[in-house]
């Protein structure tokens, strides 16, 4: 498999605090990668650096064969990177459908074609019955789906999911997992930040564990959960508590 996204020695410093230090990772075409680690490990920072929410302090990011280190967020969306937000950021003065149209307009500049694309996408994520609702009226799990629909409507090559499976009931979580699998099967590469190990480990092809801003371990989920360093840094606390 070829690399879709490559981070080379990516470092981000906030006011002297090193949030990401020398991170070098590769995301391959067609895989689901879990980005995990305890709170403050630097997952969200790395996520935002890939999405272009803020620039790297040093290092290089390449996507789909080109250097995107200097590209702002909007241009990265054009290049094929889409994201969701940990705390859903819907456009609350707009309907659910209109929210998704905003995403679709990147590939379909005509509002009419964007509307068709948005209707199809809403159906794909299972929000068909809610298209006319104001986005602010949705329940929290529906808001997550809306975030995903909006991102999918941009027809990305790489989809970044920020804790979309956190805080759901078991049933909601199962249908969320099913949706993520379906998205991957349609050919979209996925990187997901997630806290809930029980949900994320069976889902991902590969996990990258961050700890204190650095890559602690990387590999198949079954290996990761047995890695003593990972257990010490992260899983260990949970297991002792349980």
């Amino acid at each position: 498999m070829t690399a879709l996204l490559t981070c080379e020695a990516v470092t981000r410093v906030f006011d002297g605090l090193i949030a990401n230090k020398d991170i070098s990772v590769e995301i391959r075409q067609g895989e689901i990668v879990g980005l995990i680690g305890p709170n403050g490990a630097g997952k969200s920072t790395l996520f935002n650096l890939i999405a272009g929410s803020f620039p790297v302090t040093s290092g290089r990011i390449a996507f789909d064969g080109r250097d995107i280190t200097g590209l702002p967020a909007a241009a990265r969306c054009h290049a094929g990177i889409a994201r969701t937000f940990q705390v859903p950021r819907s456009f609350d003065s707009m309907s659910v459908l209109e929210n998704v149209i905003v995403g679709a307009l990147v590939r379909y500049p005509k509002a009419r074609s964007a509307r068709i694309k948005a209707l199809e996408t809403l159906d794909y994520v299972g929000l068909t019955g809610r298209t006319a609702r104001p986005a602010g009226d949705l329940t929290p799990p529906e808001r997550r789906r809306l975030e995903i629909a909006r991102a999918l409507a941009t027809e990305p090559k790489l989809l970044l999911l920020d804790e979309v499976l956190t805080g759901l009931t078991p049933a909601e979580s199962r249908s969320g997992v099913e949706l993520v699998r379906r998205i991957r099967d349609s050919g979209i590469t996925i990187v997901m930040v997630e806290h809930v190990m029980e949900v994320v480990m069976p889902l991902v092809d590969r996990a990258i564990v961050l700890h204190l801003g650095e890559v602690l371990a990387e590999g198949r989920p079954s290996d990761i959960v047995r890695d003593p360093a990972v257990i010490g840094a992260y899983l260990g606390d949970r297991h002792r508590a349980a």
Partner: protein, 334 residues
Amino acid sequence: MTGPMVSSEMTAFRRGRLRELALAGVLVIAAATVPLFVRDAYSMNVLILTLLYAALSQSWNILSGYCGQISLGHALYFGLGAYTTSLLYVHYGVLPWIGLAAGGALAALVALALGAMCFRLAGHYFTIATIVIAEIGLTLIHNWDYAGAAMGIQWPFGPDSWATLQFARDKTPYFHFVLGLFAVTWLATWLIEESRWGYWWRAVKDNADAAESLGVTIFSSKMMAAAISAFFTAVGGGFYAAFLSYIDPDSVMSFRLSLLMALPAVIGGIGTLWGPVIGAVVLIPMTEVTRSYIGGSGAGTDLIVYGGLIMVIALARPEGLLSLLPRLSAGKTP
């Protein structure tokens, strides 16, 4: 999704949009006949001002309502339009029609230049900047001798004519002109609503970070909104100059005007297609009547009315009067 479902949704949406357009067409045609019944000059004056403020507020709404960049300095663009039209006509004999277009273009350019500086400011800071810049413009005009300084500019007297937009006796042509101006601003908004810019502006207003992550370029969205908004505002200013045949700095560039452009949209429903006109129909006759009957020497009475209205709206209907009506626009949320 199954094809038929998408296509039925699309048909319903299209029908809703056309219904809205038809409704506006009917209303404009009905309004065009009003001068047949209203003959007295005072009422005609109130009607013309109502439509002018509906058009101005519709223009203001493009930048501040849809794109969420609250400007309280639109008097600057209004003044630019009024002065460009007047100066070109009085000094060079250029017909007001050309003056209106020139004033609009100049205002759009100024809006882009100011936008390049101010759009990095967020929220309230942007609004404060617009107030300050408009005040600077007012002060400059006050001291610019070529533009008549504080004395203003008097248009030459001439025969009634559509070419020079001068109608001394019967004001009906002004009514039809400003009705046309309103119709154009409404139509522009209607078209924008269902365009890439329309969606992008609303996305920028609601959540800039999310918009950016979906490929929206924030800066160019704001610049586009500012230019269109300033253009129409300046055309309104140019019309006002022709209508009064006399302008001075305070009558076309004071802060009060900026407020009067914002209020109808705020009262009627900010960021909506029908809000500005509904707000203007409620607000402008009320303030004009208050001014002439109760006002007298107490020049602040109309301001008390605005203040009272804003308070009532804020308490009872924060989304504006439009939210009282059953969905006017079936097309908006299909």
